[in-house]
Structure formats: structure tokens, C-alpha cells
């Protein structure tokens, strides 16, 4: 939704409303296509994955970031650079395991739910923004980091905050190439 400064700003920012309404239409269509919440969630995650494996190239090209040397750096990168670049928000990051491979992103603001007040009663288990989990998972996979990404808490479901959990699945020592 935005470009780094120093480049022509106008042409590559999508209208926020168009983006948010389109996402809503996508979720609504999936709800028509699938009866079960779990199926919609899976579909959203899979679509997100397809986006993530390509988005990473755009991210790396535009952000010109240096290689991350730890899971913690990676999580920070996702929250502070990627989320900012594509959604204009910066979730706060915290490490939630002693092992150093589990992280939690708290989304204070989330443009995707701009027009969503609450989930319909019959869709109580819907992970409305599950696409984001797939995007993160797909992008990480392309930089050789396997991860599980899920919504741990969701304000739309009545939780206090919206929290995305990222669990990196392999310890750094197990990686073949150490730089």
C-alpha cells in the first residue's frame, strides 16, 4: 500500500477502501462457497501462502534489507518493515518462548477490518484475516524459514487483542549453511 520514500508515491498506493472492500468481498464469497469456518480459514491461508511466496521478492527488492541473523530479527523485520510497507501498521513484537523461536505480533490497528464490526453469529470460528498468516508463512518459506503462523487471539472473536503467533520450526544450529 505504500512505497519507501524517495520514489514517486502516487502510482503504487492502492486506495485503502478498494483494498479493504475487496478483501471483504473475498471473504464473503468464500463464506458462500464453504459451509464450514475451518474450510474458509484454510482457503484464506492457502491464498495468503500463494501471495506470500511472491510478495517476498517485492519486499526484498523494495526494502533492501540486510539478511536477518536471528528469529528475533526476522520477527522484527516482519512487524516493523513488512507490515508497515504493505498495510501501513506496525504490530508490536514479543518473544513468547524461552527457546527463542516463538513470537507474538500484537496488531493494534488492522486496516483489513476497517468495515467489520463483528463476525456473524453463524461464523463464530472464522479467522477473518487468515490470509495474513498464509502470507507470512509463504514469505518465510521462500527465505528458507519454516514457520507455523496462526491467530492466537482475535478482537473480532471477542478477545482483548488481535495476536498473530509465529513459531519458527527449526533451530538455527540445525540449518546447514551458517553465514
Amino acid at each position: 500500500m505504500s512505497r519507501p520514500p524517495g520514489r514517486k508515491q502516487e502510482n503504487n498506493k492502492i486506495s485503502r477502501e478498494l483494498f479493504v472492500l475487496t478483501y471483504g468481498a473475498l471473504v464473503a464469497q468464500l463464506c458462500k462457497d464453504y459451509e464450514k469456518d475451518e474450510d474458509v480459514n484454510t482457503c484464506l491461508e492457502r491464498m495468503g501462502y500463494g501471495i506470500g511466496v511472491r510478495l517476498i521478492d517485492d519486499f526484498l527488492a523494495r526494502s533492501a534489507v540486510k539478511k536477518c541473523h536471528s528469529y528475533s530479527q526476522t520477527a522484527d523485520m516482519i512487524a516493523q518493515v513488512a507490515f508497515k510497507m504493505y498495510l501501513g501498521v506496525t504490530p508490536s513484537v514479543s518473544c513468547s518462548s524461552a527457546a527463542g523461536n516463538e513470537f507474538s505480533l500484537i496488531l493494534d490497528k488492522n486496516p483489513l477490518v476497517d468495515f467489520v464490526e463483528e463476525l456473524p453469529a453463524e461464523r463464530a470460528s472464522l479467522c477473518y484475516c487468515n490470509l495474513l498468516c498464509g502470507v507470512i508463512r509463504g514469505a518465510l518459506e521462500m527465505v528458507h524459514l519454516a514457520a507455523e503462523v496462526t491467530f492466537l487471539q482475535d478482537r473480532l472473536k471477542g478477545d482483548a487483542v488481535t495476536e498473530i503467533g509465529i513459531t519458527f520450526l527449526r533451530k538455527p544450529e540445525e540449518r546447514k549453511h551458517k553465514r
Binding site: E10, N11, S15, E17, L18, L21, T22, G24, A25, L26, A28, Q29, D33, F115
Partner: protein
């Protein structure tokens, strides 16, 4: 099997079109909250070609033609959803999938402005395309 494929394709484009319709309705609602009433049908179509297209695609429609009897042809010479694809014939058959949502967008926008229409699109050479709007007199 080819027919099945076509049926599937047709269902997909129908779904995309109806998604576009919903979004078009929502967008127009937000755009025109504070604008004055439109003079006539042509005024509305010009709005679609200029303001609406600019908000959505960051550019205006390049050419608007009409027979003044309810048919409008909107030409975009560099349609933003097609510019990332090879300009030759290679992906021409897939272009309709990338146009369906936008057809719905136009139809939905017009619908909320009180105009019932049928919107179709065609690509003769990438990335140029034409959207044909047929106003339905109720």
C-alpha cells in the same frame, strides 16, 4: 472435459464479477457522499471514466464512446491489471479472468447511482482493453 473446464471458468468469472459488484457499490457510496447530484447518464459515465477510474486504477479511461442510446465503450489502453503480463498473444485467453472483477466494479458503481447495466469486457491486444456498458432501461 473441455466443456467442464469452460463451465468452471465461467463460474469463476461470474463469482469474480459479483465480488466486483459488491465492491463497486461500496466504493461509489463512499465517493459520492459529498458530491452534487449528477446531471444525466453521460455525466455519470464521465465520472466513472475520470474520478472513479483514477481512484481505483490511478489513471483515467483513455477514450469514452457512446451511441447516445445507452451503450458506452470505455477504452483503457494500459489497463493496470494487464500490464504485468506479456503483451503478446500468450495470455490473451486468460485476460477475461482479470477483467471480470472490474466489470462488476463498474456495474456495482452504476447500480448504486441508480443505473442498471450489463458490463462486458474484451481485450484485443494486451494491455489495452475495452469495457462495454449497456444501460438497461427498466
Amino acid at each position: 472435459a473441455a466443456e467442464q473446464g469452460e463451465g468452471e471458468n465461467g463460474r469463476c468469472t461470474t463469482k469474480l464479477e459479483s465480488m466486483g459488484f459488491r465492491v463497486g457499490q461500496g466504493l461509489i457510496e463512499r465517493f459520492t457522499k459529498d458530491t452534487a447530484r449528477f446531471k444525466d447518464e453521460l455525466d455519470i459515465m464521465k465520472f466513472i471514466c475520470k474520478d472513479f477510474w483514477t481512484t481505483v486504477f490511478k489513471k483515467q479511461i483513455d477514450n469514452l464512446r457512446t451511441n447516445h442510446q445507452g451503450i458506452y465503450v470505455l477504452q483503457d489502453n494500459k489497463f493496470r491489471l494487464l500490464t504485468q503480463m506479456s503483451a503478446g498473444k500468450q495470455y490473451l485467453e486468460h485476460a477475461p479472468k482479470y477483467l471480470a472483477f472490474t466489470c462488476g466494479l463498474i456495474r456495482g458503481g452504476l447500480s448504486n447511482l441508480g443505473i442498471k447495466s450489463i458490463v462486458t469486457a474484451e481485450v484485443s491486444s494486451m494491455p489495452a482493453c475495452k469495457f462495454q456498458v449497456m444501460i438497461q432501461k427498466i
